[in-house]
Symmetry: C2
Subunit: 362 residues, 2 copies
């Protein structure tokens, strides 16, 4: 796919891809497999704790409360675009927002992460998940409309967690390093596992779909922790469910980015689930990743976040190295190989955007 | 290397490899690239919190205090051999023991892990490390002698942390998920980095050497967290230091096992640092790992620890799958793909040993 045509019947006449506002944006073009003059750049977790203006507006508001407040979501999503001049906004949300929206008792504990009061461990827990309806996320749909109105020609990337990663939070009940409960359920009771992941996939897919219909021009499905699985386990127990989630926006025509840390062994299989662009973490060079994908998949990545904490000349050599390894790609979206660390200096982040946009002589 | 000859000049006449006590042990033979009748099996972290008898003897004693108490180390090291009938003991210690032994202020905080009171961040910190002398670890040398006396024909595996992993604790000051300080020092100040890793390598290497001279028949160098690096970063900044550590026992002739989680991309380069056997985590099948190593390296691994929490029939199919993928290897040491989880059922662990020893019809 190298162009977007005739999307008005599915997206409606006012969508920024249909009006033409975001079609020529460097991010959309790179995601379609083209090489715009300037390499587009954005950062995972660009909207968040690294920004003082974020910490200010979040003060006194719980994380998940903020995610359902249209004004706050709008403001927070736009902050990094204003400050850094990045080439895309990423919708400010959290991986557990859609399951919260269908009634699961989950909260984000500061310094811990998502905590589910009663973890999902058995077949009976399946009844605790129902389909996501637009009415469950009205403030979110409203925020997407407000954001894309403000953004103009800068595309908004819709956001959702992939089935495995969402399931890992539901099953473990809190962030985990080893996913023992998750993998045990996957091995022990494939029927419950598949039903659970299918339910999550439809919730995540609908969450993405609503964001696209409200104005997002691209989506990213985050399978942050799926790198904990072997390739056979991914193919056997996860891939079909990621395909379900991605399939729920396939008819909308927007480019679909897919990413997880530590997924060098899984890139081709994750791509085969229906992604258009693969995000690559900092462990694998982009040219090696491209080779594993057959050489024709646009890639996103992959500066090591640690380079945000070194002198400019050292960091610029690292950026050069990413740009060099992307030279032969069909499309390249510059990003970190993981999220922005909360203690990163915003000035340094802006300098990365400027440096990538300059595009040193190569 | 498929045999051990003429080690008496380096190991002395009483070493169990020289007296012949452990030479025919299945673990030693598999590590040398042979296929003994029974596949040898042991478990990383087999000596530890999963055992009630461990929790009993540790009661009231701090972790690092226990690691310098010859009687406790002896008892704890032997416990899993008595209970499970595993084919090797692993010396009970901690990755930070050798740096504690040279005077670094480090403690193991329960529920956290190693905490260094003043993290290493600059060139001046190099002066805080000196070479390890046998006198720094007398109780440890004494314990190895007592253990190997008790073990008879069962080999003891010596234990040490590799330079990168030890450095990550010194630099971060506590366990980390992203190693930002560690990588920043590596990128920003290669001279300090290399001096630091060289010092650690000589400390770790000497720690291993003393264990071998006191009676260990095999060693394992744990680079637990090195999978956080890209392959170019590993080769550029770490490999030579792991080689220094492994080189300090090379003349002793004992087989050297090397392991880190998440190192599928690094296996060949870690092997090239001077290892004889590569440990493989649960993400990569043993046949694929063997392919990456040219097909002639004995492997250790790699049952997913999550299988300790499922029904016996599901677990046995997973064990079969590991044994099947090891069928073409020059040597195979059965192990988990990561450490024993503290909440694992000891009875289940014993059943894994029995099942592997039975060796189902393949």
């Amino acid at each position: 796919m190298n162009s977007l045509t005739d999307l008005s019947s599915v997206l409606g006449p006012h969508h920024p891809l249909v009006t033409g506002q975001t079609v020529d944006a460097s991010l959309v073009q790179a995601a379609l497999g083209n090489r715009p003059e300037q390499t587009p750049v954005w950062f995972m977790r660009q909207a968040g704790r690294s920004l003082p203006e974020y910490r200010e507006v979040r003060e006194g508001t719980q994380m998940l409360e903020a995610c359902f407040n249209a004004d706050l979501v709008t403001e927070i999503t736009l902050q990094p675009v204003r400050r850094h001049g990045v080439d895309a906004a990423i919708f400010f949300s959290d991986i557990v927002v859609p399951i919260k929206a269908v009634g699961v008792d989950v909260e984000i504990q500061p310094g811990v992460g998502p905590v589910v009061s009663k973890p999902f461990r058995s077949r009976a827990d399946l009844d605790r998940l129902r389909d996501l309806e637009p009415d469950d996320i009205r403030p979110i749909i409203e925020a997407v409309g407000a954001i894309t109105g403000e953004l103009g020609s800068t595309p908004l990337i819709g956001f959702a967690g992939a089935p495995f990663t969402v399931a890992s939070y539901l099953i473990e009940g809190r962030p985990s390093r080893d996913y023992l409960h998750t993998k045990a359920l996957m091995l022990q009771d494939p029927e419950t596992w598949n039903s659970l992941l299918d339910k999550i996939a439809r919730i995540s897919g609908e969450f993405l779909r609503q964001q696209v219909l409200a104005g997002a021009s691209v989506i990213q499905l985050f399978d942050s922790w799926v790198g904990a699985l072997s390739r056979p386990a991914y193919i056997h127990s996860v891939q079909a469910h990621s395909a379900t989630a991605l399939g729920m926006v396939a008819d909308l025509g927007v480019p679909k980015i897919h990413f997880g840390v530590n997924t060098g062994e899984l890139l081709a299989d994750m791509h085969a689930a229906g992604a258009d662009v693969m995000g690559v973490d900092f462990r694998l060079s982009l040219d090696e990743a491209s080779k594993r994908l057959g050489g024709n998949v646009p890639l996103q990545g992959n500066l090591d976040p640690a380079t945000l904490f070194v002198d400019a000349d050292v960091r610029e050599r690292a950026i050069d190295s990413v740009l060099d390894s992307a030279a032969g790609l069909p499309g390249h979206i510059f990003n970190l190989g993981h999220g922005v660390p909360p203690n990163a200096d915003p000035g340094v982040i802006t300098s990365v955007v400027d440096y990538v946009h300059q595009g040193r002589a190569r």
